[in-house]
Symmetry: C2
Subunit: 541 residues, 2 copies
């Protein structure tokens, strides 16, 4: 049976390290769902949006994640998740069932069809790096292998469509692992390394910025070794937060222009050479372009190419640059005057004091350990979390594309990707209303996240821009909700000490999902968002 197209797909996913497939079944994909349930592990989610985000999180943490859905009504619910995976460099593999090749003859009006049978693929081509319809069993194994290779190499989403009759057709063996992807042209790489090495030697106050590419490509150890050798302090970015652990010496924390902590901005903007590794100059990474960085002092090595000052080396990626610089025998230098984020300060709750955003984040920060993976939802949960020093446990956030609804389903993907670490979610009440019910998928998946709901009655990041009733969300009884959907136990807190105690209890009980809602005033925002809103308001008005 494994010698079928579906069997080859499962085999290829397994070979590439995929251990869990996140799914919502539907009639065009039932055969494949049954096969994955039997031969790999199928994790069902409540809605395709949740499956997409869970698989995205898994992809970010394991190097390849997979979502399995049905045609049309399944696949087209995943467009937003795929777009986020594209924008934030996540190797997400979307597998969609589809009407059988035989069923399509005569162009009938089969259910879930839109303009034509190729509509879904055409849509996916707009947000994915690669797509293939497996309509020929003989070619399918090669198509599968190629798609997974593209996802890994480009750190982008790919799309595979499996007609349901082809799924069970016999197929040849998968191609062997094949030669590694062609590296950059050796001469171009040598020229680039020579130039970058020269800039490093000449610099007096060089600073390294470790971005999302460092996390995706698993370069953290090499980057830290390089920085230590060269005496360069390291900053991270919002999207690349925890690309290197932030609670160790030499790591300054998140640089985000005028939004980040001022001492990190002074460090980065005062550098005479910025070695940006896997970091992208997005608006959120640069505090909505409040960053003051002179391009003449920047070396930016991305996942796929290198920019030095104002010129580019195509196909020279960050992995080759880091490896090349390590092997280059650059002179060692003592650590310069950096600024370390350091561990979070201890937090002493003031009994009975009404909870405020700043204190909520401070309390959470004081509880972060390496046994937790912090997942922050876009909005003030993300901005507030930017200041928390996160160590080996890691951090996930949709910090560029910034789709709401990511964090709770991502916790399920993250929990399965790293069984030794518990997901700690920070999410606003507005975003929680989008996908919070995916917590209901956690118990069957064997994941027990801790979810902190920042409950401020609406979309707090929007209020300083333009406010109206449209920024309000209905009040939910969060503990009642998690009880109703069988997702553990929750509590709502209004004071510092109640919140802190509830969080400690939640962290102590790893047996089930736990939710702690912290109620704060609607106009109360994190220190980071306070720094940011001035810039945002100027941009909108």
């Amino acid at each position: 049976m494994s010698g079928t197209v579906g069997g080859r797909l499962v085999e290829a996913l397994r070979r590439e390290g995929v251990r869990h497939v996140f799914a919502v079944p539907g009639d065009y994909v039932l055969g494949l769902a049954a096969r994955v349930e039997r031969d790999l592990a199928l994790v069902t989610m409540r809605d395709e949006q949740g499956a997409g985000f869970a698989a995205d999180a898994s992809a970010r943490l394991t190097g390849l994640g997979c979502a399995l859905v049905t045609y049309g009504v399944g696949g087209l619910k995943l467009v937003n998740a795929a777009a986020q995976a594209w924008a934030e460099r996540s190797p997400l593999v979307i597998v969609s069932g589809a009407p059988g090749v035989a069923e399509r003859r005569g162009n009938p009006l089969l259910h879930h069809r839109v303009k034509g049978f190729d509509t879904q693929r055409r849509v996916m081509d707009e947000v994915c790096a690669h797509s293939a319809v497996l309509d020929d069993p003989d070619r399918a194994p090669a198509q599968i292998a190629e798609a997974l290779a593209v996802a890994r190499r480009r750190m982008r989403p790919v799309y595979l469509e499996v007609p349901r009759d082809v799924e069970r057709a016999p197929a040849p063996a998968l191609p062997g692992p094949g030669p590694p992807a062609p590296g950059p042209d050796a001469a171009a790489l040598e020229e680039a390394l020579e130039e970058v090495a020269g800039l490093i030697r000449a610099a007096e106050r060089p600073v390294m910025v470790a971005g999302v590419g460092v996390a995706r490509l698993g370069l953290a150890d090499q980057v830290r070794t390089l920085a230590a050798h060269l005496g360069m302090p390291i900053a991270t970015t919002l999207l690349g937060k925890s690309a290197v652990p932030e609670d160790v010496a030499g790591v300054a924390g998140v640089y985000a222009g005028g939004m980040g902590r001022p001492e990190v901005a002074r460090l980065v903007e005062g550098a005479d050479l910025l070695l940006m590794l896997g970091a992208e100059l997005t608006d959120l990474n640069t505090g909505l372009f409040t960053a003051r960085i002179d391009p003449a002092r920047v070396v930016a090595a991305g996942i796929e190419d290198l920019h030095v000052r104002r010129h580019a080396y195509p196909a020279v990626g960050v992995a080759a640059v880091v490896e090349g610089l390590l092997g280059r025998g650059l002179p060692a230098r003592p650590a310069g005057p950096g600024t370390a984020a350091g561990p979070a300060p201890a937090f002493d709750p003031r009994p009975g004091a009404p909870l405020r955003a700043e204190r909520l984040f401070a309390c959470v920060g004081s509880r972060v350990t390496d046994r937790l993976t912090v997942i922050a939802e876009a909005g003030d949960a993300l901005f507030g979390a930017a200041d928390l020093p996160v160590g080996e446990g890691g951090f996930l956030g949709a910090a560029y594309y910034a789709s709401l609804g990511f964090a709770v389903p991502a916790a399920i993907g993250a929990g399965l990707a790293r069984p030794g670490r518990r997901p700690l979610v920070l999410v606003g009440d507005g975003a929680f209303q989008m996908t919070g019910i995916e917590l209901s998928s956690a118990p069957a998946a064997g994941v027990a996240p801790v979810v902190v709901v920042v409950d401020n009655g609406g979309y707090a990041t929007e209020r300083p821009m333009i406010d109206g009733r449209f920024n309000d969300v209905p009040a939910w009884d969060h503990p009642g909700l998690v009880a109703a959907i069988g997702a553990g136990w929750g509590v709502t807190c209004d004071t510092e000490d109640a919140f802190c105690r509830a969080l400690d209890e939640a962290l102590a009980d790893g047996s089930r999902p736990r939710l702690v809602a912290g109620r704060i005033p609607p106009d109360d925002i994190s220190p980071a968002l306070r720094r940011l809103t001035g810039a945002l308001a100027r941009r909108v008005r």
Copy 2:
């Protein structure tokens, strides 16, 4: 202020009869959201998926519906809803905010961006009939008018993208209503009518099938007049259910091949002429092609063109055909031997009898009145509801594209579209887990649906095809859920009498949303689905 692009958009929507705009705000659309909240009516939903479905329902019932979302993370969550609107002929207007024209210069990495600034529009072009980016204030009013006209004429979704700086730019007046859309060529129409009239005169057992186009174009009265004059019984389709009221003489109810009631199949398949008005031969409309219809006996007038036997008249639409036949002085005929669906039989619950699907639908059917709009979710809720005779209150169901998650948000759109009628939702527990929390949006919208959850522990339509744990969904405490999200009051019932009593209480309390969950065995399905599953299983295996 109304002389701005945003003002013209609101003015145009209002002129076309749009009274409510369904939205999730986001920073690129805040200005427009504030304007709609002030000058029209903004109904906020919990997630963009819900906004899309609510607007789709509004479009189906009022002739034009509008969803308002932000760029990327908003618009790309609407692709599935737009695809459904395309497939099921719903005039849905999607308005998306977007980065300002000035912001886009230099191609910066603004948040919510994917491959390029045109990604979202390119995606929407795959699932919409028309799109426009309002990047020039001078042209915007004409672009707006054209988009709304296309939506109305083609009964398809359209997409408008509004850069946030253009939204507040001064704009010229809207063009006047303009000449009506060009009708079909007069000679082609005359030729078509002559041929169809000849077929009608020659037929001995003609039957009319009223489909979705009759509902969308508001042709019900004309169609009934024509049928009565010609003595033709009328059947409807699954997608066009309630295109004409089913509880009156001469209306046989839903024809759906081997899935529908056998007496309707005998009537339709025994006809020597089928006059199909606004009906499409989709797989679900024909019981997965179990219909036995001879194309040589079919006249099919669609929204945009006419097919007579095996030839076509392009641009001759059903509205012109119906009007032309009415004006043609065809000889009146007495009603032939039809089969009337008639009113639902009374339902006597058996005290203490465990609830079963067949009895659940029978109970609901006995309670349907013209003061209720019945909304059935795809799956067994839809199949079970197909047999219910629905009158003037109307019926909504995603009966071709068949996306799960439609029914609950659709109830909010429907309730606002028809304030005198209360939405009665039939939804499976699996689909309810996708978007059921949109009930939380109902109280602020002033809508109080009655939601019947058919609680069978999973995806019942899939189990007869291929079963596995993937078809199970977690058990929810539905009453606890609605209480937690501030969406009225609910109850779960296991017996016939408890269910019937709870439904009666819910129908008697119009002050708030009411939920009645009817628990039935996992393998228990409606009579209609029992008829259908044979065909489905044969197709999948």
